[in-house]
């Protein structure tokens, strides 16, 4: 997975990059500039030093010559001979190269140099410089060593001093004399001179012999210093680099008064200045950029990152479903606008969700309608039938549920009853429920016995059951004539049978749920209902209803709630469902209903028909059945007591004689007719009319009385009518007893 970058992280990265580039650029710029500045200032330093030294040399030379000239002028003013010989003597004594006397008109009147006699000082630029001595603007004048106006190849250094008699005396050094003078001045003059801190001035004569050097190499060739000067290729006053005494130095020279004056400055020193500057600049820049960096970072954090965090917090609340959360970041326009936009979006979203929810609610309500209308919902469903009553309710935990119940007559006297629970809830369960209901009904109506219908329905439901849903179901067919229920239990809760005010679970073993695995067998089981019985079918929403402490309602509470007399008919079935609903409600309290609660109650009034094995052991079953039936018909007690005996006599008769040793059934049907109770006995035994047997003589004493025949006789005597007929291989014995007697 790619790791996400934070805004502040990205910002910091780029900010750092930009700052680093800016720093680098400014450092390069600063470096370049400082290098140039340092060099320029170093070169200036070299130049100035050279100029200084040169001036020193010249000044020294000037002062020397001027002093000599003044001495000579003093002697001439003092009266020394001013003829040629006198000048020559002066020249000799003062060790100068030439002495000229110039009159007030600027003409050389006496000279030690024959060629200059009568030379007019005005005739050359060099010589004209001395004219200031004649007009009184100067008292003395010194020139540098240079070519003369008279002869450009002749080099001289002149000094002139005014004479008291007018005119002036001019004294000159020739090259040799000037050299001696200068040499004297220059040797060692630069020994203690520094250029900058470690730089120096080296002076060499025209033959590159050192005359002044800090390292005291005077007299040696300039080569020892490492400097090498070639005038034609190396212009004066420009910088060249040389290894001076093993150290790289910037050097500059000038050629003056016949000397090379070389100024030397180690490059280290030049660059030291630059390095210091650059370091200082760097330090300052680092400080500035760090501050900038910090300020921008804090600003971004305050203005952007914190706001985004705040927006994000609100957004995650919204994502978690709190659509009432408002984004409220108002510290700047952009975020205020963003907040407003988000709030508006969420508000719009809320409206859409509300609209969608309303639509879903409507659709669920439709679905509920469809589901409800798929279940029989008119009660009483069979108002014309006296033999049974039915009532059913379904309370779904959601709008639509997975429970269902169903009942329908397969034949006139065969009622299918069904309660089922689809795994899960909501639309998928409801859809699967509809399929399950339809499939079961299809097979049932096709004529399949309950177990066969369950088997076929299970296989059908397993096909394409990709959702892995399943159905628990209890389905039974009630034979309304006999009260016999053939049923199949596919993993469903056991129904409750309420008889004589006592509730018991029908706890046969259950088979596998429907749609779980195809091909599994289902067993048919039976249950004999007696007239007056209530059969209560339900789903686990009843027994698994929970209260606040998470206890379940459970089977025991259900049995307790149902262990009472509910009366008969329509009122009884409603009362049973109402009682359970109330008991569950009282138990659960405020705990919301977690599962669908479905209940179906059957009251079996019976059409008072009992099919039973023709065995004397079944006598209690028969008399119990008849007594309940008569009670239901409102038969008076005395009549009922006589009927009781009659029923026993007839049943015992059939049990003892009808089938011999073969097993066989007898069907007993009780009905009322014109304020009389009519009981019919049918068996398929050998044809036998007990009424044909002669009555016993009841007037005989005990010793003569026979044991047999007494029962039928009693029946005849106590009943209002007894008839026998053979009907379709059946013996049909009918007794009648009027209620009023």
């Amino acid at each position: 997975m790619q790791t996400k970058k934070t805004i502040s992280g990205t910002f910091l990265k780029w900010l750092f990059l930009i700052v680093a580039v800016a720093f680098a650029v400014s450092m390069v710029f600063s470096w370049t500039l400082q290098t140039r500045l340092s060099k320029k200032s170093a070169y200036n330093l070299l130049r100035l030093n050279i100029a200084d030294v040169r001036q020193d040399v010249i000044d020294a030379s000037d002062a020397n010559l001027l002093a000599l000239t003044r001495d000579i002028a003093g002697e001439i003013d003092g009266g020394a001979a001013t003829d040629e010989a006198g000048l020559a003597a002066l020249m000799e004594r003062h060790d100068v190269s030439e002495i000229n006397l110039i009159n007030a008109e600027g003409i050389i009147t006496v000279t030690t140099h024959a060629d200059f006699l009568n030379y007019d000082m005005r005739s050359g630029k060099q010589s004209a410089e001395f004219l200031g001595l004649l007009d009184g603007t100067e008292q003395w004048h010194v020139q540098s060593y240079q070519p003369t106006s008279y002869d450009a190849t002749l080099l001289r250094k002149y000094a002139g001093v005014c004479l008291t008699k007018g005119g002036f005396v001019e004294v000159a050094y020739d090259a040799e004399r000037f050299q001696r003078d200068i040499d004297h001045q220059i040797v060692g003059v630069t020994r203690n001179r520094h250029v900058g801190e470690n730089g120096c001035i080296i002076i060499a004569d025209v033959n590159w012999n050192i005359v002044s050097d800090r390292n005291r190499n005077e007299g040696k060739n300039l080569d020892v210093t490492g400097i090498w000067i070639d005038r034609p290729t190396m212009p004066e006053n420009t910088v060249f680099t040389a290894e001076v005494y093993g150290e790289t130095c910037s050097c500059m020279y000038t050629f003056s008064e016949g000397y090379y004056i070389v100024a030397v400055l180690p490059e280290n020193e030049i660059l030291l200045q630059r390095d210091t500057s650059v370091r200082l600049t760097a330090a300052l820049e680092v400080l500035v950029f760090l501050s900038l960096f910090a300020v921008i970072f804090l600003l971004v954090r305050k203005l952007v990152v914190n706001n985004i965090r705040s927006v994000n917090n609100s957004l995650s609340k919204i994502t978690d479903g709190d659509l009432d959360e408002q984004v409220n970041v108002r510290s700047n326009t952009e975020f205020a606008s963003l907040s407003d936009d988000i709030n508006e979006t969420v508000s719009t979203l809320k409206q859409y969700i509300a609209a969608a929810a309303a639509r879903i609610d409507r659709e669920l309500a439709f679905a509920k309608n469809i589901q409800q209308s798929a279940l029989p919902s008119v009660f009483p469903p069979y108002p014309d039938r006296k033999d049974l009553n039915l009532f059913a309710t379904m309370d779904t935990a959601k709008e639509v549920g997975g429970d269902f119940y169903d009942f329908y007559f397969l034949e006139d006297n065969k009622l299918a009853l069904l309660v089922a629970d689809v795994s899960g809830k909501g639309i998928p369960a409801a859809m699967f429920m509809m399929t399950g209901k339809t499939v079961l009904r299809d097979y049932a109506e096709r004529g399949d016995a309950p177990a066969v219908a369950a088997f076929n329905a299970n296989n059908k439901l397993c096909e394409g059951n990709d959702a892995e849903m399943f159905i628990t179901a209890w389905m039974g067919y009630l034979e309304t004539d006999t009260g016999l229920v053939r049923f199949v239990n596919a993993g469903h809760n056991p129904p409750v049978l309420i008889r004589d005010g006592r509730a018991e679970f029908i706890t046969q073993k259950a088979d596998l749920t429907l749609a779980a695995m195809d091909g599994v067998p289902y067993r048919e089981q039976t249950l004999q209902l007696m007239p007056g019985d209530l059969l209560f079918l339900y789903t686990d929403g009843v027994t698994e209803a929970a209260n606040a402490s998470e206890e379940l309602f459970g089977n025991n509470r259900l049995r307790e709630a149902l262990s009472k007399r509910f009366g008969s008919g329509e009122a009884a079935v409603r009362a049973v469902c109402g009682t359970v609903k109330e008991a569950v409600g009282a138990f659960a309290g405020d705990t919301p209903q977690a599962d669908d609660i479905t209940m179906l109650c059957l009251y079996y009034a019976g059409n008072n028909t009992l099919a039973v094995a023709a065995k004397t052991d079944e006598l209690p079953t028969v008399t119990g059945f008849v007594n309940r039936a008569l009670e239901g018909l409102g038969c008076p007690e005395t009549a009922a007591a006589q009927l009781d005996i009659a029923v026993e006599e007839i049943f015992a008769n059939i049990a003892n004689y009808a089938y011999g040793s073969e097993p066989g059934d007898v069907t007993i049907r009780v009905r009322s007719e014109d304020s009389a109770a009519v009981i019919e006995f049918r068996d398929r035994g050998v044809a036998f009319n007990p009424l044909e047997k002669p009555d016993p003589d009841v007037s005989l004493p005990a010793e003569k009385r026979e044991i047999g025949g007494l029962g039928i006789f009693m029946v005849k005597k106590s009943m209002d009518d007894v008839t026998y007929q053979r009907d379709n291989d059946e013996n049909v014995l009918t007794i009648r007893k009027n209620f009023t007697k």
Binding site: P620, E648, P701, E703, I707, L710, K717
Partner: protein, 98 residues
């Protein structure tokens, strides 16, 4: 059904309670037979007998036949509904009902 028996010397008092029908009569009959040989006076206390069918009547008839030969048999506290049966069947004509 329950049967109370009280044997004093050769006098047996026996009191069946409830129903004397096809199912319960064999039990009543065997209770009677057990003591029949030594008893000369048999008293049937039917105060708590509420029902009797031909099966019960048969037992009473055969007891009557035995007792007629060797002693006496008396029925006491017969309820009206039982009495009615005795009337219908003519049993009242030969039974000694006190």
């Amino acid at each position: 059904m329950t049967i109370q028996k009280n044997l004093q010397g050769s006098t047996l008092t026996i009191a069946p309670e409830g129903r004397l029908d096809t199912i319960t009569s064999p039990q009543f009959e065997s209770e009677l037979r057990a003591d029949m040989n030594t008893v000369t006076d048999l008293i049937l206390d039917l105060a708590n007998l509420t029902y009797i069918s031909s099966a019960g009547l048969r037992v009473i008839l055969s007891a009557q036949k035995v007792m007629s030969k060797k002693g006496t048999m008396v029925l006491r506290n017969v309820r009206p509904e039982i009495m009615e049966i005795f009337e219908i069947t003519g049993f009242s004509s030969f039974l000694t009902i006190e």
